[in-house]
């Protein structure tokens, strides 16, 4: 694992990186289980295998920065600081959820975390991110807006319109392409004539980087470099993180489009054991840290499920709530 990264790799930080990745992994394993129990319904898109991307990028963000994500956003929400219990309650559709139960798995929102969803329209969140950055710039705030999307979104026209707008207006946006090689069942080479996604950024004069999305340290280092320049007012940056989705696209996917062997090959690069073993070898993480994380996370998730279970259903009379401001209702 590279150590070139300009990242302060002390024990506390290594433990935190591992903890965050494990939290996402375990949280989602539980979600899959709860989905089969029909506690969670609708579409459920798991991030399993891609955890290093959200964890690495979020390290570079401060509390006043903004985040826009996709329908595959449980991990981003967790790392951004939305509590596991509120996320779980949201997936149960309970009003104690982070979106009051209205959104479910694909629409996690949180005002305090400046987490603007949770968008289920592919590329639909990208213009919103550009606008958030425009607002920050016009109001003289040195914030960055991190915008996550998959490589499949790069084929959508809005992706291009927005890269151009962000570059043209030199907006503080960090575009993060989570390139997991598939858009549902469509392999990258069948969706893009140019498969180097980050190369597209160049056609808008946006500096870009390509990193191993299975290596949390590399991702963090690249994100730190990008956000530093963004805060310095140097305009948008683009990060392509090569990663892989270990599980199905959603719970309805028979995965006819890829070989089991390919999945196995990628599982060998699982970002969690990879980082854990490296950090332990480097003496940054100890056995007891790993054990402690395991226990903490198990506790957190059990508590989250209990919270969601104990949550309440919004009354039917509220059906028309949240369509417009109260005084307009």
């Amino acid at each position: 694992m590279t150590t070139s990264a300009k990242v302060r790799l002390n024990r506390a930080h290594c433990v935190d990186l591992l903890r965050q990745m494990v939290r996402i992994r375990e949280f989602e394993e539980k979600c899959a289980e709860l989905y089969t129990q029909e506690k969670i319904r609708g579409f459920l898109h798991l991030y399993t295998g891609e955890e290093a991307v959200a964890v690495g990028v979020m390290q570079a963000l401060g509390p006043t920065d903004a985040v826009v994500a996709t329908y595959r956003e449980h991990g981003h929400a967790l790392v951004r600081g939305i509590s596991a219990r509120e996320i779980m309650a949201e997936m149960f559709g309970k009003q104690e959820g982070c979106s009051h139960g209205r959104g479910g798995s694909m629409h996690l929102f949180d005002a305090d975390a400046r987490f603007y969803g949770g968008n289920a329209i592919v590329a639909g969140g990208i213009p919103v991110a550009v606008g958030l950055a425009l607002a920050d710039k016009m109001q003289g705030r040195a914030n960055a807006t991190a915008c996550f999307f998959g490589e499949g979104a790069a084929a959508e026209g809005e992706f291009h319109e927005c890269l151009n707008l962000a570059a043209l207006w030199q907006l503080p946006v960090l575009f993060v392409c989570e390139n997991n090689l598939y858009a549902m069942g469509t392999a990258l080479e069948r969706s893009e004539s140019e498969t180097d996604i980050h190369a597209k950024a160049a056609s808008y004069r946006i500096p870009s980087e390509f990193v191993d999305g299975m290596n949390v340290v590399d991702v963090e280092a690249a994100a730190q470099r990008a956000v530093t320049t963004i805060r310095a007012g140097e305009g948008p940056r683009f990060l392509e993180c090569r990663t892989y989705r270990f599980r199905a696209h959603s719970m309805f996917d028979a995965q006819l489009y890829r070989e089991k062997a390919e999945v196995e090959k990628w599982r060998e690069r699982d970002p969690i054991p990879r980082f854990r073993d490296w950090a332990m070898a480097a003496g940054e993480i100890r056995e007891e840290d790993v054990a402690a994380i395991k226990d903490e996370v198990a506790k957190e998730i059990a508590e989250a499920v209990a919270f969601a279970e104990a949550g309440s259903w919004e009354p039917l009379e509220d059906l028309l709530k949240y369509v417009g401001a109260e005084r307009r209702a």
Binding site: R41, G42, F43, G93, K94, G101, R102, G103, G104, M106, H107, N119, A120, I121, V122, A123, G124, G152, A153, A155, E156, G157, A183, M184, G185, T186, A187, R190, S191, E192, F252, D253, A254, L256, Y257, W313, E314, L316, L319, L320, Y322, V323
Partner: protein
């Protein structure tokens, strides 16, 4: 007669079209390797190959427009826009090109394209994935809009749509795919008329697509209360079959319209107005509508159920109209 699901009926219809006419091809997101997001095109790739079962990138506007161009170029494309929720990205191409090129060219060109999309709520997919936009599309001159509500229509409408020289949109309600029925695979259906799915005397229940099942269930339950309900399946949302609508209302003199679109500006308003314009400005009872509540569809089941038309709401509406 063969028993099959609505999903298999759509697939069987596409297979037949692909076998019969070399100009026909299917294009859309994940129609090939993935087998279609609702498994409608599963297996077709192996049978017809990647040229004719063409996976597209996520570019709704681009590939819908490419379908229009391919139709102008002599092909008979079936473009699948995964769901109508994403069709907003194709709408400029549909309204400004597909629906207008015949007109703008003074009749020199026509666009024989079929655009299929899934529609409707009920699967807890929340605010961005539960739209029912077929009524909206029915506003556009230059296109024909179909809503197969039965397995037979799912099997038979496509052939008629492909034979149409102009653009035809087919809306497949997501709650219908698993439904099964005994159908005649060889049947030929028109794409002009509405169909009476149940005869009745007291009230006309006018509906289509995903709400048809609910209307029939309501009619069944109401029969036990001595209320005789006629269920009219519109089938074709543009152009509307005024004759069938008025014939039924002439008989019953009462009407309830069930439409999964958001109430205001939904197709139910046009149907109501056609009845009024058809001379029924003096009915035995007000016309009632059962539509979706005017709210982005919420995720939780209890709220989604409350937002969408339900058998109970249909029954209540019918009772209010017949005054029982």
């Amino acid at each position: 007669m063969t028993e099959m699901t609505y999903r298999d009926a759509m697939r069987s219809a596409m297979r037949e079209a692909l076998q019969r006419d070399p100009r026909v091809f299917l294009m859309g997101e994940d129609v090939g390797r993935y087998g279609g997001c609702y498994a409608v095109s599963k297996g077709l790739l192996d049978e017809f190959g990647p040229e004719r079962i063409r996976d597209t990138p996520l570019s709704e506007g681009g590939f819908t427009g490419a379908g229009i161009g391919a139709a102008l170029g002599g092909m008979r494309p079936i473009v699948e826009v995964m769901t109508c929720n994403f069709s907003l990205l194709s709408l400029d191409q549909i309204m400004n090109n597909a629906a207008t090129i015949r007109h703008m060219s003074g009749g020199q060109f026509n666009v024989p394209i079929v655009i299929r999309m899934a529609t409707g709520g009920g699967r807890q997919l929340a605010a961005q994935h539960s739209h029912s936009l077929e009524g909206w599309y029915a506003h556009i001159p230059g296109i024909r809009v179909l809503a197969p509500g039965t397995v037979q229509d799912a099997r038979s409408m496509l052939a008629s749509a492909l034979a149409d020289p102009d653009p035809v949109l087919i809306f497949e309600n997501v709650m219908l795919y698993n439904g099964t029925a005994d159908i005649d695979e060889a049947a030929v259906v028109d794409i002009d008329s509405a169909a009476i799915r149940r005869e009745g005397q007291d009230v006309s229940l006018i509906t289509y697509g995903g709400s048809l099942r609910k209307a029939l269930d309501a009619a069944e339950r109401l029969a036990s209360e001595g209320i005789s309900v006629e269920v009219l399946d519109l089938r074709v949302l543009r152009p509307l079959d005024d004759d069938a609508i008025l014939a039924s209302v002439t008989k019953t003199r009462r009407a309830v319209i069930v439409d999964e679109g958001w109430r205001s500006g939904s197709l139910s308003a046009e149907v109501t107005t056609r009845i009024v314009e058809g001379g029924f400005w003096n009915l035995d009872a007000p016309i009632a509508r059962v539509c979706s509540a005017e709210v982005p569809i919420p995720y939780p089941k209890h709220l989604e159920d409350a937002a969408l038309p339900s058998v109970d709401r249909v029954i209540a509406a019918v009772r209010s109209v017949v005054g029982k």
